[in-house]
Symmetry: C2
Subunit: 213 residues, 2 copies
């Protein structure tokens, strides 16, 4: 189970408003492991955990990313965000520049450490997990095709984040490809550019940023 610390979920689920969304990890729930990379659910709509995600395709890491002005005190827990995707969806993206049905993106939040062993500067990833979230595309399951789930732990079931949450509206308004933040996935952004799959919303943001310079 994760430590009872508030953390920011910065890469997949964005925070609209004055400060980042925080959550606490508590109450582990029984879970069955998903035995394939297709999303699987319990009868009450929880998502089974993608237990082998560390053997999936790595997309990127960020450190202390935030899409909104920082609230006082939010800097106290420095963390890395690591993003993984199931291999079938990755291969489809390479071919098409967008995500197929049954795509599963995993956000793993991990403590950032500066002191340890012989390291003297910068930051490295510690063994402590601080958060875990999944963004899944399942066209027949969700009205908006995609849904976010958060997890108390990577081996427990995930709880659906309701469609009205700011994650959804922000991803729709700013994400580069199909409501996903491909602008932060360095090996995929060039593919989306070539395949011309960048969203109108993202292109509008980029044009406005270029004009502001």
């Amino acid at each position: 189970m994760f430590p009872k610390l508030p953390i920011r979920i910065a890469v997949l689920c964005l925070v609209a408003g004055a400060f980042a969304v925080t959550f606490f990890f508590h109450h582990p729930k029984a879970a069955l492991a998903a035995d394939s990379t297709a999303p699987a659910y319990t009868t009450n709509g929880e998502l089974l955990p993608p237990t082998n995600y560390r053997e999936w395709i790595y997309l990127t890491s960020g450190v202390d990313m935030s899409y909104s002005p920082k609230a006082p005190g939010m800097q106290s827990h420095s963390s890395f965000d690591n993003v993984f995707v199931n291999p079938a969806a990755y291969r489809s993206f390479l071919a098409t520049g967008t995500w197929p049905d049954k795509t599963i993106l995993v956000l793993e939040v991990r403590e950032a450490k500066s002191k340890g062993s012989i390291n003297q500067h910068g930051q490295f990833q510690g063994t402590q997990l601080m958060g875990f979230e999944v963004h899944v595309k399942d066209e027949t399951q969700f009205p908006g095709k995609w849904a976010f789930f958060d997890f108390d732990s990577p081996d427990k079931n995930g709880t659906l984040i309701p469609q009205g949450a700011p994650c959804y509206s922000c991803h729709a308004a700013h994400a580069a490809v199909d409501t996903t933040f491909v602008q932060f996935y360095p090996t995929l952004l060039p593919i989306a550019e070539v395949k011309k799959t960048l969203s109108a919303a993202y292109l509008k943001d980029e044009a406005a940023a270029a004009q502001a310079k």
Copy 2:
């Protein structure tokens, strides 16, 4: 080809002395892609590039890591280090706590950006590669079993770093498992602890650090 920028190689190949080793990328060389995950060499001892390493197993990322006091001006190019390993070696490590023959560890150095799209704080990875290095275990090929290679680009052949370079002595003196910095690989360190494969040198470092607290 990489930009002509000096960069630090912080995770795999360490820098002994007052400041981090720097190198420049230049003169692309012809290369054949390695078509499997076993290391393969040209007749003059260059290492063929592991072209599909982004589909290998991700181990960790660091940001601006350094094992030595920072020299003035070294902060100007912030970067992430991403480490990948071939899947067969990873599975062997899960079972044994150490690396088999033919292990290939890849260090990809990528620009760290702070401003871009809707990001306001922290850092994310950009599309620009700034360095590429491989640490390979090939017991019949190298007197010390392991060797480092640096690359002008991930699709060119790699040049052997001579065995007298500080990479080798520092890894021997401080790395947690079999001359590799498993202390910075958060999912593998607990396995090495359980399997009791941590090096005497690393345990000595840790004991000294604990005593100094």
